[in-house]
């Protein structure tokens, strides 16, 4: 196997062009690939479409990418939070486009992209504003909305360990969107706390098989684990 290990975040991000669609893992801050996002800010690609559950918290990570005016559109389920001031300001000023997707439909659309499914009927959102204009169907007495896969050019995700094949394991609820985004992107870049030897991950316990991972960069223990605690805010 050719190695998937990059020497650093900058190298790992090579080739991301202006106008790219990028999935970024994380639920709030847990699982957010902060070091990769910082490198993306430095790298300079702009006019990006970002797919994430949220729209940035505080002033760092995804919020800092937004503040740097690199993002023209965001697809997410929960932009408005007590600390989403960066997004709020851009949105109010008409400087960012928002596609709001119910969280489960967001997850299932991402999963469908990775799984080669052309579309699926979901009960979530039926009869609501978020299904307006969409095809609906009653199947076995229940109402569904047709939703389509959500793909991206790149995925930036965060995991706990990788091996040289790119197999990944995660930590607790930081797993969240990582596994499905890895499969839905053309090129998946994973930051991990550390890389372990081939064979060190039990094949029963691999969560993301390496086939879904193109580049791996070890960043050391993530800053969230070092600096940690944050204030809660709803979903």
């Amino acid at each position: 196997m050719r190695t998937k290990l990059s020497t650093g975040a900058t190298e790992a991000l090579a080739g991301i062009p202006d106008g790219a669609t990028i999935m970024i893992g994380g639920f709030g801050r847990a699982g957010q690939p902060v070091e990769l996002i910082d490198a993306l800010i430095e790298q300079g690609a702009t006019d990006l479409t970002i797919i994430n559950n949220n729209a940035g918290n505080g002033e760092t990570g995804l919020a800092a990418l937004l503040a740097a005016r690199r993002v023209s559109k965001i697809v997410c389920s929960f932009p408005r939070q007590s600390d989403s001031q960066v997004f709020n300001g851009l949105y109010a000023a008409g400087l960012i486009e928002l596609e709001l997707v119910p969280q489960g439909n967001l997850a299932e659309r991402i999963r469908a992209a990775g799984a080669g499914i052309g579309g699926f009927f979901t009960p979530t959102g039926f009869g609501t504003q978020l299904a307006e204009g969409k095809e609906t169907r009653k199947i076995d007495g229940r109402n569904y909305v047709l939703e389509y896969p959500l793909r991206s050019d790149f995925a930036l995700i965060s995991a706990l360990h990788a091996d040289p094949w790119g197999n990944l394991v995660y930590r607790e609820t930081a797993r969240n969107f990582g596994p499905i985004m890895a499969a839905a992107a053309t090129t998946t870049i994973a930051q991990v706390d550390s890389v372990v030897e081939l064979g060190a991950l039990d094949p029963e316990f691999v969560v993301t098989p390496g086939i879904y991972v193109d580049r791996v960069v070890a960043v050391g223990e993530r800053s969230w684990l070092r600096h940690g605690i944050f204030i809660g805010e709803q979903a």
């Binding site: 709030g28 489960g104 504003q129 940690g228 605690i229 204030i231």
Partner: protein, 211 residues
């Protein structure tokens, strides 16, 4: 004359059967956790990828990777499991949770739920997992005051707020009474220092109930 939120949370907890898998929504429903039986009689789900969620950690023991859907630090019970977001929402959408408890702006007498969007112009919409929770569990319970701050009923003929889900609520716990939403209509299940006549006058809805 009306029940405190804590007392209401205790009543909701009383109605959740041992062995149930339960998702407690953000906000007031979270209070229900304080009144569940001790031990592992009830297993809590959090939609960001965990079954077997435990209480908040002791101060200084917070783990940034271990949080609930409200992004507050939590713990894991023995017997817990983690899974990714598509698996977590498949669990919800697939009808595997026994009970979900949600807050609401309004509930209609047919069980329509409005709890995600004020509909105010200029408001930034944010839905999160609300629409998935609304349609997913075997039983969807709502906890809310029966009236808003201006005294208007929140249990209504038709919701004026944007809907979260259609005909999805099974039971509404309020500070004045508990209602079951059935195919026959709104059933008054229990009242708190409130008569059926008072409820009828307040709500202007047809009510069915044991007098």
């Amino acid at each position: 004359m009306s029940l405190s939120r804590e007392d209401l949370a205790a009543i909701v907890a009383r109605d959740i059967r041992e062995g149930s898998y339960v998702n407690l929504g953000i906000g007031i429903p979270t209070l229900v956790a304080n009144y569940l039986p001790p031990g592992d009689a009830i297993i809590l789900h959090t939609e960001n990828g965990m079954l077997g969620m435990g209480p908040s950690p002791a101060e200084g023991q917070e783990d940034p990777d271990l949080m609930n859907a409200g992004k507050l630090p939590v713990t894991a019970r023995p017997g817990a499991s983690y899974f990714h977001h598509a698996d977590s929402f498949a669990m919800m959408r697939g009808g595997h949770l026994d009970v979900c408890v949600l807050g609401a702006f309004q509930v209609s007498e047919r069980g329509d739920l409005a709890n995600w969007h004020s509909g105010a112009p200029g408001a930034i919409p944010a839905v999160g997992g609300a629409m998935d929770l609304a349609i997913g569990a075997k039983q969807v319970f709502v906890m809310m005051d029966l009236q808003d701050r201006d005294g208007r009923p929140k249990l209504v003929a038709d919701c004026s707020y944007p809907l979260t889900g259609v005909a999805c609520v099974d039971r509404v716990y309020t500070d004045r009474a508990v209602f079951d939403i059935t195919l026959d209509g709104l059933v008054v299940r229990e009242t708190f220092d409130t008569t059926h006549d008072e409820l009828r006058e307040l709500l202007a809805l047809d009510l069915i109930g044991i007098l």
